[in-house]
């Protein structure tokens, strides 16, 4: 490949050097002139060289800045102007642009696939919701019709619970599909974490009073101000509902649940702790998997569909946060789910 601009500079350098040689040849007999001519020649050469190096260096910096942008994904691809078309760095940048285009098109292919998946999920869930609503109405009617018959009444109650489970599953799957496809943009605003947790507790009120659970909240902070994180509070509330619901399901009746909100310089950590029978060490990494239910209580927890913690994980991830768990079995058993968000 020929890079005209670099070639141009190179030719000028060659001419100057050649000029100096010629001068040597003609002026060899006049040493008193030779020295100043040489000095002048070298000064010109040095000036020109410095100019050339500066120019090349500037271009190298531009190329580096471009790479930087690609890496940090700012995506601004318009850097070179026409004047630099034939420079080697301009060519490197052009090739990088090509590469970036290829990468982007691959990414958009992937996004198309995810979007298709999400649309499919959304279609399926809407199609399921309508007959589900009908089923719910019928079971209600049956329930009233059966009146005195306890056995039939119980069966219809079971049917209603099953319908509720399907609804929960369908809604959860749809939300996960939305998050994974990236079609949902989190709208994050700085707001107190405590408010979000309180709202989550409010939605779980009936379950809490049904099991007579005592929920305690403790904020661990140095200064007396509210603990704030950037959050899409609707989504984060959903995540906390699922985490606390999980703790409620594992708790014995009339048990305690502790929620600790800890403020550190860079992050906010929320621990939700129940004092149920605990999860074994091998199971802990799996509890955030889709459709996973911890073995010990699988039979007892018929109302769970194993999607809640997976959804929580996706939501926390979308908040640049991490989710993890710790548990003990035996005496003083507990399970803690930690979510940590950078400020």
């Amino acid at each position: 490949m020929i890079y005209l601009e670099e070639k141009k500079y190179f030719s000028v350098v060659l001419i100057i050097v050649a000029g100096l040689f010629l001068a040597t040849f003609f002026l060899i007999s006049k040493p008193q002139i030779l020295l100043p001519v040489f000095a002048l020649g070298f000064i010109i050469l040095a000036f020109f060289g410095a100019f050339f190096i500066r120019k090349v260096y500037k271009k190298a910096i531009k190329a580096e800045q471009y790479l930087d942008q690609v890496i940090s994904n700012e995506g601004n691809l318009s850097i070179t102007s026409n004047a630099e078309k034939d420079s080697i760095f301009a060519n490197i940048i052009e090739e990088l642009k090509e590469l970036e285009k290829i990468r982007q098109s691959q990414e958009s292919e992937k996004n198309k696939e995810l979007l298709w998946q999400k649309n499919l999920m959304s279609d399926i869930s809407h199609q399921i919701k309508t007959p589900l609503a009908t089923l719910e109405i019928y079971t209600d009617i049956f329930n009233k019709e059966f009146g005195e018959n306890e056995e039939k009444k119980e069966l219809s109650e079971h049917a209603k619970e099953a319908i509720e489970r399907i609804r929960w599953l369908v809604t959860g799957m749809l939300q996960i599909a939305k998050l994974e496809s990236g079609t949902y943009k989190m709208e994050k605003k700085e707001s107190p974490v405590r408010e979000t947790i309180d709202r989550a507790l409010y939605s779980l009120n009936s379950l809490i009073s049904e099991k007579k659970i005592n929920v305690r909240i403790e904020e661990r902070k140095e200064e007396n101000r509210e603990i704030i994180i950037p959050q899409d509070s609707k989504w984060l509330e959903e995540a906390f509902i699922n985490i606390i619901k999980n703790a409620l399901e594992y708790s014995p009746d009339e048990g305690n649940i502790d929620i600790f909100i800890t403020d550190t310089p860079m992050a906010v950590s929320v621990e939700v702790k129940d004092y149920g029978e605990g999860i074994s060490e091998e199971e802990i990494p799996k509890i955030f998997n889709r459709f996973y239910k911890a073995g010990g209580q699988r039979e007892k927890r018929k109302d769970s569909v194993g999607i809640g913690l997976n959804l929580s994980k996706e939501i926390v991830k979308a908040h640049n946060g991490i989710i993890t768990a710790e548990s003990r079995r035996g005496n003083d058993s507990f399970t803690s789910i930690y979510t940590t968000f950078l400020r």
Binding site: T262, M266, K286, R290, F291
Partner: protein
């Protein structure tokens, strides 16, 4: 070919009767962007594995190939340079240089390559690490969590493709440990870095995509934590 290939890795410390076998024939591979936790009791060989992966120590047998380059076949100088450019280390002991400021500690690996970090970049990094007000402080003026954040800054200054961490939260309280993990993971996700982390903390291991269990210098467990469980587990 995987991003990292470990083939028949063996490490014996000492020789003759007093020799100790730390690793026995380990073969593993790691993909780009993977977050792997290495667990096992103390003396199981997990820290040895990490130092062999990072080219800090040389194996008795076997090889480590990172991004197509055979780490232990390099000359000492090449190896040091490779380490500096491709790998970021985070240790339990923060290993900061006591006479250098926060900023200078972070810039250290780049300086060794004769590169100065641009002010804008340094500002961004310090901001991300919450160390903006402490840029001129010396390590002794910092808390444990802050020191570890400086160490993370140093490990990330050159955007390495691989992060090796040995009990990075070992000396920190629970909440600060989680904060450090959130920082590590956030950056790893952003730049799709491979992160291999040695820990005995189940909380930390539970965050990983894959958990490798070592015992007596052998791999006794290698579990990928998938997003969906297989049918027999449902």
């Amino acid at each position: 070919m995987s991003f990292i290939e470990v083939k028949g890795l063996k490490k014996i410390y000492g020789n003759g009767e007093s020799s100790v076998t730390a690793l026995k024939d380990i073969t593993l591979s790691f993909e780009k962007g993977e977050f792997v936790a290495v667990v096992g009791s103390s003396g199981s060989g997990k820290s040895t594995l990490l130092s062999l992966l990072g080219g800090i120590d040389s194996p008795t047998e076997g090889e480590v190939i990172i991004d197509g380059e055979n780490v232990h076949k390099m000359k000492a100088g090449e190896k040091a340079e490779f380490r500096r450019r491709k790998i970021g280390f985070v240790f339990q002991e923060y290993n900061l240089i006591p006479v250098l400021s926060v900023e200078e500690n972070i810039e250290m690996p780049l300086r060794l390559d004769g590169i100065r970090m641009k002010d804008k970049k340094m500002d961004e990094l310090l901001d991300m690490l919450g160390l903006k007000e402490r840029r001129d402080h010396l390590p002794e003026q910092l808390s444990g969590g802050q020191k570890q954040r400086v160490a993370i800054g140093r490990a990330y200054a050159h955007h390495p493709a691989l992060i090796l961490a040995d009990e990075p939260t070992g000396n920190l309280d629970k909440a600060t440990g989680l904060e450090i993990m959130a920082l590590l993971q956030n950056s790893a996700r952003k730049f799709s870095q491979t992160m291999i982390l040695v820990t005995h903390d189940e909380k930390i291991a539970a965050m990983a995509d894959r958990i490798i269990t070592l015992s007596d210098g052998c791999v006794i467990g290698d579990a990928v934590v998938r997003n969906a469980v297989s049918e027999d587990e449902v």
